[in-house]
Subunit: 198 residues, 2 copies
Amino acid sequence: MIDTRARRREAKREQILAAAWTLAHRDGLGGISLRELADLVDLRQPSLYAYFESKHALYDAMFEAGNRALVERTRALKPTEDARDAVVDLTRMLLEFVTEDVVRYVLMFQRQIPGFEPSPNSYAAALEFYELVRSKLSAAGVSAQRDIDLFTTLVAGLADQQTANDPGGDRWAGLTDRVLAMFFAEIDSKPTKRKGAR
Amino acid sequence: MIDTRARRREAKREQILAAAWTLAHRDGLGGISLRELADLVDLRQPSLYAYFESKHALYDAMFEAGNRALVERTRALKPTEDARDAVVDLTRMLLEFVTEDVVRYVLMFQRQIPGFEPSPNSYAAALEFYELVRSKLSAAGVSAQRDIDLFTTLVAGLADQQTANDPGGDRWAGLTDRVLAMFFAEIDSKPTKRKGAR
DNA sequence: GTCTATACATCGATAGAC
DNA sequence: GTCTATCGATGTATAGAC
């Protein structure tokens, strides 16, 4: 049956992707060898091309998987009464997401693979996440672009320092609440005119 | 004379380093090809090993040069009356340093070369810079480790976002003053006991 | 789809002659 | 110090049998 064939193919694709993550964790993102990857899934190297048309396509699939996981995780956050609590929960979750798999973080948020650009399809997943963030920020009274940029600065700084200087620990992640309190104090001290304001 | 020989050797080393920066700017850090590098300085590829024992040793020399330049730039900052102004000047200079040469920034502050660890000698230059930062922060009333970590978070965030999302521009660098004002407001709101306090 | 076999270009690195 | 020659590995890709 055609369905069986398609399902087997999809299963093999998933198997290849899982093996790719394994290799990436061991040797780094750039250290994935297609010959070794093929070995891990009982294929010969040229046969990988039946599933991914290039190594970049493999990275692209990994990039998409990472972003879909992040979107899912974001959607699974419990609703909060206060909109700012939602931003706190989001940020905590993001730091956790980032520290639990540094390689995935690097693939998604650092430009480390030379020449790799996400396909429009994969990038859509990334955009979906950013939209969720924007929406939560907006509900918390943060909608000016420069205020959003300030927020991304803080989160990027926490994630960068945490993964680079204390992987596995929480030296910087532990600053999350303090950083956000500081952020909202700054926002409140310079209120921005909003659409609904009189 | 022995001096002449040593000087010629040092000059060739510098020539190789300069060519390496040229290639890195064109092709990225990882894109440096030893064969092309040798061509640029009129050598054959294996002869480079008379000057650098490996490609990592070349990166190490570049890492050290970058850090020495940063230390020099920091020492050249004009003294200020107010200690917090010195931190502002330092941060502005750092953002400028980072944006004027993104490749150098990546080499110095991101872990992008697989397996590259600075030698103790090169790392000493990096430590020298951190000591200067610590000293300026301390003079400005920031000496608790968690407060220093907060500062590094902010600077890392600005540098990361600026270089990654707006290279050549100043979308995030332009937030520097606001970020530092926010930082010092936070510091003042939670004063830390200091050695000299009564 | 998967295989064998092969090819090409590139890479960092090393041996050994001079 | 510099060279030629070479090694072993990589990613990429294709041809052609089954």
